[in-house]
């Protein structure tokens, strides 16, 4: 009874907090963020490759063309960086050393995927953009399998 009373008393009184850190307060990770960004990279790459240059002496058309081209490039580069950021979060924060037992190629997969992000940012290469999507799909399956789930790979476009 005395123990119970003392326990209640200590629980009421303020106490210093001691952190039991987690990676995030919520622990919410999802490769969908990387997938959406990678899809944007692929989409912008396709749009850039599909652009047709106007006639050489059409100044107004060149202005529109250059503006559109620059905007597409900016979005492609931004989304490539976003894809890399999201992949690195999964690689360094979600996946732990024990996952290597199930996925021996985990580091290689993420390293190559991050390299593809850089390649897609620098160039306008449809093959690289498609490779990036395949790499993100591989990460998607590794991630959900590690959680004991088999979520389907669904793209927005």
């Amino acid at each position: 009874m005395l123990r119970s009373a003392l326990s209640k008393l200590f629980n009421i009184l303020p106490a210093q907090t001691v952190n039991a850190h987690c990676d995030g307060p919520c622990g919410v990770y999802d490769p969908a963020s990387a997938r959406v960004a990678a899809e944007a990279v692929l989409s912008m790459t396709k749009k850039l490759l599909a652009m047709e240059a106007p006639q050489a002496n059409d100044h107004a058309a060149w202005t529109v063309y250059n503006n559109t081209f620059a905007r597409f490039v900016a979005i492609k580069e931004d989304q490539a960086k976003e894809t890399k950021k999201e992949l690195l979060i999964l690689w360094t924060d979600y996946f732990k050393p024990e996952h290597l037992a199930s996925y021996p190629d985990l580091h290689d997969t993420f390293w190559k995927a991050a390299k593809l992000c850089s390649a897609c940012k620098v160039g306008i290469d449809l093959a690289k953009a498609e490779e990036l999507m395949q790499a993100v799909e591989k990460v998607h399956h590794m991630f959900w399998k590690s959680k004991g789930r088999a979520d389907a790979w669904i793209t927005a476009s």
Binding site: L6, T17, V18, H21, C22, A101
Partner: protein
């Protein structure tokens, strides 16, 4: 749950703090603190009040498997609570019981032994 392929440490279970521990707390020979976060689940839940035996810097070497209250190596003004996974000559290796969620020595490396403030004895 044991993870195949990884060396496991004996995880000492925590008991409810007895009347003796509470008496030592009142008299200042023990300290207490409240757990915040889920990295020590299922042993410690967020909100648990724990009692710990303070350790002077350079004092007793901790037993692997015990739970320590440690100065956060990233932000030394705050304390963290983790399982002492291994002891090394350079310091101690920390691990959260909730291994897939915990941020511990796998991220911030081996922690200086002088960061160890105490050993958890029980839950109040």
């Amino acid at each position: 749950m044991l993870t195949p392929g990884l060396q496991q440490v004996k995880k000492y279970r925590l008991k409810r703090a007895g009347i003796r521990s509470l008496f030592l707390l009142i008299t200042g020979f023990r300290k207490h603190c409240r757990v915040e976060g889920n990295s020590m689940l299922p042993t410690l839940r967020s909100g648990d009040l724990v009692i710990y035996k303070p350790i002077k810097p350079g004092g007793t070497k901790p037993t692997p498997g015990s739970i320590g209250v440690i100065k956060d190596p990233i932000n030394t003004s705050s304390l963290i609570v983790k399982r002492i996974h291994k002891t090394h000559s350079q310091g101690i290796e920390l691990r959260g019981d909730n291994e897939t969620m915990s941020s511990d020595s796998r991220q911030f490396g081996i922690v200086n032994i002088n960061n160890l403030c105490g050993i958890v004895e029980g839950i109040i």
